[in-house]
Symmetry: C2
Subunit: 195 residues, 2 copies
Amino acid sequence: MRYPGGVKIQPTTKKKINYKNRGMSLEHDLNITNEYYREKGIAYIYKKPTPIQITKVDYKKGKIIEAYFASPSTTDYNGVYQGKYLDFEAKETILKTSFPIKNIHAHQIKHLENIVSQGGIGFLIVRFTKRCQTFLLFASDLFEFQKENTSSRIPYSYFVEHGYLLEEKYHPRIDYLKVVNQYGGVSSDTKKTNC
Amino acid sequence: MRYPGGVKIQPTTKKKINYKNRGMSLEHDLNITNEYYREKGIAYIYKKPTPIQITKVDYKKGKIIEAYFASPSTTDYNGVYQGKYLDFEAKETILKTSFPIKNIHAHQIKHLENIVSQGGIGFLIVRFTKRCQTFLLFASDLFEFQKENTSSRIPYSYFVEHGYLLEEKYHPRIDYLKVVNQYGGVSSDTKKTNC
């Protein structure tokens, strides 16, 4: 059996694979999901590099010796799927009953608005770590929540009602494109949750 | 008239603005072009942050104290234009007669191949600085060159014949979307250069 990256794993004892691998971070799960999509030629979606403001470089050693983390102006993930532009932000929360909107920068929400206005597909992937559940919430549903609510937290129930529970398995780890494929272009009144 | 700090500025002669500002780098020109597109809601295209490998962080000061420039796995620019995924790499060359393909990493060319295979729009923007000319070359024409030639340099004449000379003006500085709009979905036998 060959794992992505060509690492050969000794198939001596039949290990029971924990498909859910719940200890792993959402970022890790998305990275291996995107790797899977790339290997299969399904989609080319990448996490953008962390924005860094470099202030001092030792050019002789080719080394950065002073730099700071900068605030991201866009979301973390974007790419192409069947010619379409896809853009999303992924966040984890340890809260059980709600997701604080402040976990996403205001300019990232504005960015998602811009993307959607240009016909791109924008969404959030939110993991409720204590529930071991990960949801996809289309940007349109995020905007609708903000329009109709003054609360700074999106209740868990809103994700259940308007979002899509993402099945976690071995490969692809979190098949979010399945949801994009089925509901990405469907208006909110005809769609239904798959959980 | 006095400026803060007491610096006196003589507002006597009306400076003539050099719209072309040819001393500016291609990156700068593309940044202000993309800013213009964003401001007008025409497209949302960004330069990705430079990939950095962080090796030491002073968490108390929130400061990175050791890091290295990493090799980019994708191209520098991507975004959405009318729902479509757009992806390109931009390079300058001081050579007058050719553009060395080695200026673009092999995995960046592979990335452009992947993008095009998924229906995305991929291209290069190449500036011949000594000629003060900037060309857009669609990825398909880059691949065709590589298929039919063993040379590691794309001759200037190939850009003239198969690429599109990008007009430089005040705003937008380099209107590459005009070319994408006109020729982005057109097969190579029906298109013509605009220089």
